[in-house]
């Protein structure tokens, strides 16, 4: 488990009757910090930035999750990142902000299956059920800060910093096999 996750190919990494973990294809990721009047940012994106922490918005394949009072993370198809950066550069003078390309920083694990939520409880101290489908949160998984997106009752995505990914994947792997063994 010492190989960098980036060296794994996208696709299924672990699969049991409990859940399936796969590595999502590479995607553009942007970190936005902004405060004050958000209308110019909404206009640049073509969709309103979500107003409360944990809420999401999406437009043309770009997904936006509010992480904090003045912080959002955006995921988007790789070619779109340059367009979004250009649109934000236009409003920078009048509305100073920070928009950083963090595409290379993280890897995303897709976690789905009947026991996906239960699998996450192995590393997340918070109640997974308080993250509703269609929402997301930054939280902690076995000591590692992760961004968790809940796409459906039984389907999640977890953004993990590259250097922590082997550690996180190792626990998910063990958990998947353990949960499957328990149900037999």
């Amino acid at each position: 488990m010492n190989a960098p996750v980036s060296s794994f190919t996208s696709g299924a990494l672990v699969e049991t009757s409990a859940a399936r973990i796969s590595k999502a294809p590479a995607i553009g990721r942007l970190s936005l910090r902004a405060r004050g009047d958000l209308a110019p940012f909404d206009a640049a994106l073509g969709v309103g930035l979500p107003l409360s922490i944990g809420q999401r918005a999406s437009v043309d394949g770009t997904e936006i999750l509010r992480l904090g009072p003045d912080e959002w993370t955006l995921t988007t198809p790789v070619p779109r990142t340059a367009q979004i950066e250009a649109a934000f550069a236009e409003i920078y003078e009048a509305h100073p902000h920070s928009l950083v390309d963090i595409s290379g920083r993280e890897v995303t694990f897709e976690i789905e299956g009947a026991q996906a939520a239960e699998l996450l409880t192995l590393g997340c101290p918070r109640d997974i059920e308080t993250i509703l489908p269609g929402q997301g949160r930054r939280t902690v998984f076995d000591g590692v800060t992760v961004v968790l997106w809940r796409d459906a009752e039984d389907r999640f995505r977890m953004d993990v910093w590259q250097s922590f990914a082997p550690h996180v994947l190792a626990l998910l792997d063990t958990g998947c096999r353990e949960l499957a063994a328990q149900s037999h």
Partner: protein
């Protein structure tokens, strides 16, 4: 495990998402160069070490990332309240009243 209310997320979450960040409402002198060694030492190092309700800073590290303030009883380890970093220091009698 302690449950802590983050005033920014407006959620009550496990302690493991948070980090402690020392005594709250410690004000940095406007003119540090005008301070005597004793005054500067006081600002840097001397803390209240309260037995009972303590005004302290916390950070929602694995979450919204924000620092906020809390009043926690250092004897019972119970949080009396948490509030945003720029909010005024809440009056202790109103907090202990609410606890009863």
């Amino acid at each position: 495990m302690l449950l802590i209310h983050c005033p920014y997320c407006n959620e009550t979450l496990p302690e493991l998402e948070f980090t402690y960040a020392g005594q709250a409402h410690v004000v940095r002198p406007e003119q540090p160069s005008g301070q005597s060694d004793e005054q500067w030492e006081e600002f840097l190092f001397i803390r209240a070490n309260v037995r009972g309700p303590h005004y302290e800073r916390w950070r929602h590290f694995h979450g919204c990332g924000r620092f906020f303030n809390a009043v926690r009883d250092t004897v019972s380890d119970k949080f009396l309240t948490t509030y945003e970093a720029d909010a005024p220091r809440p009056d202790l009698s109103s907090l202990t009243e609410r606890q009863k």
